[in-house]
């Protein structure tokens, strides 16, 4: 990176931390520290919700997904708008009426303290680990970029977030989200424009899109029903709906964002705005990846994008074998480029048989090159069994660093850092709130003063920051980051959603049956994840459906509760 890039990056990060500290000054009670005095308007809430979900992983890994696998990943988000409507209708009014600080507080009102505690603990485990991943992603960038020690980088980035989140609480988090989201959108738009402009001048934008389509990268919608395929219309509409309901309705990192609304209307509008723009935004990020893919049809891509692993194999006893594979990859590229040009010429001439023939040749070389890549990965693994062989996360980063102009690299890096900081801050903020409200205040020290609770919230933000940094140290072997985060959530989301659905929509199921149902649901999810090939989006459906059915059955088997107890629960 040039000095100008460093200046842009440093100034942006400095501004965000300073702005967070300034916005979050003078926090005297929990209402202020956890819910920003419940004074926020819907545009702030909407941007805060979006910034919480849009982590650096979204920015780094999603274009790589489109490059490697096409745009089918957009289907993961199809259930989200439906979830936004359902949550606006059912969850927002209840949370606002009860004036809760956390989503789990509501569960005690409906069930009992053990259900509240169980759900809060499940959340703390899942979100604690996920927040570690959101710190790891940009740390990875800097370590690859500068050759810094990844562990030290994790520590520096995590500490920056901890400073303004611990000091300023939710006010700092929500207000910095607005600035961060604007920087993220600006960075993404710039990256797309430059990716398109980087394609050779004799290829028009429309032709570039047609090339991407012919090479299988614009497969946005797939209506086939296959339970072992991760991204289809059906898995997105059903599994994606469950994930979104659980994430936005039961995950404190999101619930806390819209609990800050001055009225239920402000919270609802914040959610609905997200329902309108999230799917097109993800499509747009994936489209950036598709354009980077087209760019690499005309400019030779490396055989393996992870420069650190490439450097290691280059000095190993397999260096000559790897060099041979690189030669084969280059030869494949030259042939493929020629056939891609034939494809463009045939499309220009409306020569359908010619285009089909060129497409077949391109696809054949793609298959051959995939085999070359697999051989390279096998070699990397033979050289080092612990090597990180998933290079999806490096594709977009590699493009940014090699081909974007001075200054723009700094802007895109700033956008990536902002994305990471926004979701990490929301995660730490929620972890601290849940620990204080649902565990410390409820179970350990119910009679402390507001000042004590605020002080404890700050210390717990620091604790969870430390926990997340520690987990980030172990995140290097988790494959595609965006999948890792969503997979991790999918172990728990279905079960947590089952608990909330039982709370919202049943009147007779009690806390004991709900807890036991949740345990059965969680055990079923673990069975399907470890012993079957069921695509992970469906784990959410299984956890939710099994959890609900098990709770309903167990309730019938349990001894009858006193009528008063049932009425109270209802």
């Amino acid at each position: 990176m040039s000095r100008l890039d460093w200046l842009v990056l440093g100034a942006t990060l400095g501004f965000i931390v300073a702005y967070g500290l300034w916005k979050g000054r003078r926090q005297r009670n929990l209402d202020s520290y956890i819910l920003a005095d419940r004074k926020l308007q819907w545009p702030t809430i909407a941007l805060s919700i979006m910034a919480t979900q849009a982590s650096a992983i979204t920015f780094l890994s999603t274009p790589g997904q489109a490059f490697a696998d096409g745009m089918r990943f957009v289907q993961f988000y199809l259930g989200l708008p439906v979830a936004m409507v359902l949550l606006s209708m059912f969850a927002v009014p209840i949370f606002h009426r009860l004036k809760v600080y956390t989503a789990y507080e509501f569960l005690e009102t409906r069930f009992d303290v053990k259900t509240r505690t169980l759900t809060a603990v499940l959340f703390l485990i899942q979100r604690g680990l996920s927040t570690g991943l959101t710190i790891y992603a940009p740390a990875l960038i800097v370590s690859v970029l500068l050759g810094w020690n990844l562990y030290v980088t994790n520590l520096i980035i995590g500490t920056l977030v901890i400073i303004y989140t611990a000091t300023g609480g939710t006010k700092a988090v929500s207000w910095t989200h607005v600035q961060q989201m604007l920087i993220i959108l600006g960075g993404m738009a710039t990256a797309l424009i430059i990716a398109i402009r980087s394609i050779p001048g004799d290829i028009s934008f429309f032709e570039a899109v047609r090339v991407a389509g012919r090479m299988g990268r614009l497969n946005a919608i797939d209506f086939s029903f296959d339970l072992t395929t991760n991204y289809t219309f059906w898995s997105g509409m059903v599994g994606g709906l469950m994930v979104a309901l659980s994430y936005f309705g039961c995950d404190q990192s999101q619930v806390q964002r819209y609990l800050t609304g001055e009225t239920p209307a402000e919270s609802r509008l914040g959610l609905l705005f997200n329902g309108l723009v999230k799917v097109p935004m993800q499509f747009f990020i994936l489209f950036v990846g598709a354009m980077v893919f087209v760019f690499y049809q005309f400019v030779a891509p490396p055989l393996f994008f992870n420069t650190a692993e490439r450097a290691k194999i280059g000095v190993s006893r397999f260096a000559a074998d790897y060099a041979e594979l690189e030669d084969a990859h280059r030869a494949n590229f030259v042939q493929k480029r020629q056939h891609v040009r034939e494809l463009v010429t045939a499309m220009r001439a409306d020569d359908a048989p010619g285009a089909a023939a060129a497409q077949a040749k391109v696809r054949a070389i793609q298959t051959r090159d995939a085999a070359t890549r697999k051989a390279a990965i096998d070699l990397i693994k033979r050289n080092d069994a612990t090597a990180d062989v998933s290079d999806t996360n490096y594709i977009f980063l590699s493009f940014v660093l090699r081909f974007l102009p001075i200054g723009v690299v700094g802007l895109v890096m700033a956008a990536i850092f902002c994305a990471s900081m926004s979701s990490t801050a929301a995660g730490l903020n929620a972890l601290s709130s849940t620990s204080v409200v649902d565990i410390y205040k409820r179970l350990i020290n119910p009679n402390a003063t507001e000042t004590d609770y605020v002080r404890m919230s700050k210390w717990l933000t620091v604790f969870w920051g430390g926990f997340a940094i520690a987990f980030a140290m172990y995140a290097t072997r988790l494959g595609s980051l965006i999948e890792a985060v969503n997979k991790l959530g999918s172990y728990f989301y279905g079960t947590i959603l089952a608990i909330f659905i039982l709370a919202f929509f049943t009147k007779t199921v009690g806390g004991t049956a709900t807890c036991l149902g949740a345990v059965v649901g969680e055990a079923t999810v673990l069975y399907f994840s470890f012993f079957t090939k069921l695509a992970w989006l469906w784990w959410n459906v299984i956890g939710c459906v099994v959890g609900i059915i098990a709770a309903l059955l167990i309730e019938r088997l349990l001894p009858d509760r006193e009528p008063d107890e049932v009425a109270e629960a209802a």
Binding site: M84, V85, S88, M89, I221, D222, L272, G275
Partner: protein
């Protein structure tokens, strides 16, 4: 309750329908996009 009226739009039902119609239109556009460019 005054809060039942959204600050923008005629009613909450209208806004909910707008979000769902937007989703349906996006799915149709994405499907057409997939078919046209494959």
């Amino acid at each position: 309750m005054t809060d039942d009226r959204p600050p923008i739009g005629r009613s909450w039902s209208t806004l909910y329908i707008a979000v769902l119609v937007n989703l349906a239109v996006l799915i149709i556009i994405f499907y057409a996009f997939t078919r046209y460019f494959r």
